[in-house]
Symmetry: C2
Subunit: 354 residues, 2 copies
């Protein structure tokens, strides 16, 4: 855990390497408390926290300093403090500890993956449900792209006079299809010929490795079919066709906010698959595992935080899992859950690939 490398992208405070130890403890206490209670935290409460053994007056002085430096904010005078995005960021980067699933959760994960079987889509969907249950967040699972999986079967099935279906089976068990419009009527025999030719051209290779070199069978009409077939294959290999998004536990967003407007705007975002997938990829590309508040660019999610975790299949990062919650989400838990589930999912997918 502890993504100790990222952050430090804003040169705001005069402190490149953080807070003195007591201020850290106080910030830690405020964040932890606020995550639990969703109520502004006063100096009185912080006194009880471990690692802080000074009077409330001293704590107040430190909290004022933390506010000056942008780690804390006050909803109004005479209220307690709540963490700012910067405060959460520091918490995630330097405090908060590794975090771990409770035994029940760990048991749940183990059980899930022991019994997980069947089609990959179903498993990914259920994984999103599992993650959501574990963390009380909304979980997003982007299926591994199949660019690297090798082709195990290529088939052309005629559906209508000029309509055929290209059906591809990949080594990881994914089945993809693409309907093909044919320029002229093609009978079953010719389709079969074309399919055989396509198979010879592509079997054992990954979808992304299919090149556009001409393949000829000697028969021009069959060649035409093969040609559109190759195009279809390459289309399947392209990114746009691949990403499947599974969202689980969106109801948790309704529990996280009490402003119904916020809920609506967050749900609206979640309905836009492309936005979500892009968002996750973006955060990952920037080397972050957590994006808090406005750190990701999506305004409607300004009061949310995102935890992302890559899913590696055979050492290659292909899938992504993400957790979406309010900025006052339980980061250590979310990170732990995402990591555990991400790892196990990756293992699982690696196994079924070979």
């Amino acid at each position: 855990m502890q993504t100790s490398d990222n952050s430090r992208h804003d040169g705001a405070g005069p402190d490149p390497l953080a807070l003195d130890v007591r201020k850290s403890a106080i910030l830690n206490a405020v964040v932890t408390e606020y995550i639990g209670s969703a109520q502004p935290v006063g100096s009185q409460h912080v006194m009880d926290a471990p690692g802080v053994s000074v009077s409330s007056a001293t704590i107040r002085a430190d909290m004022a300093a933390l506010e000056r430096d942008g780690y804390l904010a006050q909803p109004h005078t005479s209220a307690g403090r709540i963490p700012t995005d910067k405060g959460y960021r520091f918490f995630v980067d330097h405090l908060g500890g590794p975090g771990a699933l409770d035994p029940v959760g760990r048991q749940q994960v183990r059980q899930f993956f022991d019994h997980a079987h069947g089609e990959i889509e179903l498993m990914l969907e259920k994984t999103s449900g599992l993650l959501a249950d574990l963390t009380d967040c909304t979980a997003m699972v982007v299926g591994p792209s199949h660019e690297l999986a090798t082709l195990r079967s290529v088939q052309l099935v005629g559906l209508g006079p000029r309509l055929a279906l290209l059906v591809v089976v990949l080594a990881d068990g994914a089945v993809q299809k693409q309907s093909i419009d044919l320029a002229e009527d093609v009978d079953e025999g010719r389709l079969a010929d074309a399919a055989r030719c396509l198979a010879a051209h592509s079997l054992g290779r990954a979808l992304s490795q299919i090149d556009a070199t001409l393949v000829t069978t000697g028969d021009p009409a069959t060649d035409a079919v093969v040609s559109v077939g190759v195009d279809a294959l390459r289309h399947l290999g392209s990114a746009e066709a691949g990403d499947q998004l599974f969202v689980g536990g969106s109801s948790h967003m309704a529990a996280a906010f009490d402003a119904v407007d916020t809920v609506r705007s967050v749900l609206t975002i979640l309905e836009q698959q492309l936005v979500v997938v892009t968002l996750l990829r973006d955060v990952l590309d920037r080397g972050l595992s957590v994006a808090i508040g406005t750190e990701h660019g999506v305004e409607p999610l300004a009061s949310c935080a995102i935890v992302v975790m890559p899913v590696s299949v055979d050492g290659e990062v292909t899938g992504t899992i993400g957790l979406l919650g309010p900025t006052r989400m339980n980061y250590p838990l979310a990170l732990a859950a995402a990591q555990v589930v991400g790892n196990r999912l990756g293992q699982r997918l690696s196994e079924s690939r070979r």
Copy 2:
């Protein structure tokens, strides 16, 4: 429109055939107004409504009667009236008129289906989005069951030493898969043999027509594979594997209620595919096209209404579309939208079947 046959399942009022014409007009006005404003409607406002040309005092008397008969309710004395479930029911059955999409909406539908193409799942998903947009409700689309589509292709693809994938292509373009655990190692040749045998046994029939009769190839090891293959086919044909649910516009539920708890519980229901599918089927089976409030048995949805519409493919009812909104949803619009979209979707699917 106008499902003038259902209802009359509770013998509450002494009126088997309803309200005198003015009371109907008043009820109509109250419902219409309340759907628009979400505010209790007073006698003063009803005066302006068409078909009602009496004084507010008379209207008050009628409204009192309507309340006595259970069509209206009063949040408190000295407030206006709001419709009860029974009031909505009467509105839907006898008032409200046919309802129609506005030109913009109709244009949207036309454009959608003119440009709809590609894989069926994608189309259904987008259809749910369309419906949600048109009606400001949450749309549910249950994909047509493939029980009736005939098999066009059956294939077995080896994925691992004892793992194979059964891939089935149906005449409607659906591709289904089912992983198969084999008792012992089976080489590609034997898989191909078994697949050929399965094909001979099942091609041209519908999934639901696959019977369990023994098929023999002469080779016991191959027969074993065929046997699990037949089981897998029959499993695909069974209801449990078939229903795909697409939910669109769940964010509209957050806009419909201002109690965040309600939103959460509704979303929780929507996450349970099985519950939703069962609910829709249930309402449809009871011959209703609208289920209001507690008419369906799902308590968390007591403040919601559901509009369902069957989707007929080649005259056979196979799919379902549903709209979920608050009980004060715009029924005429929802019914119109569901009918138009349902029809066009059915047509579309029928076309691509042959």
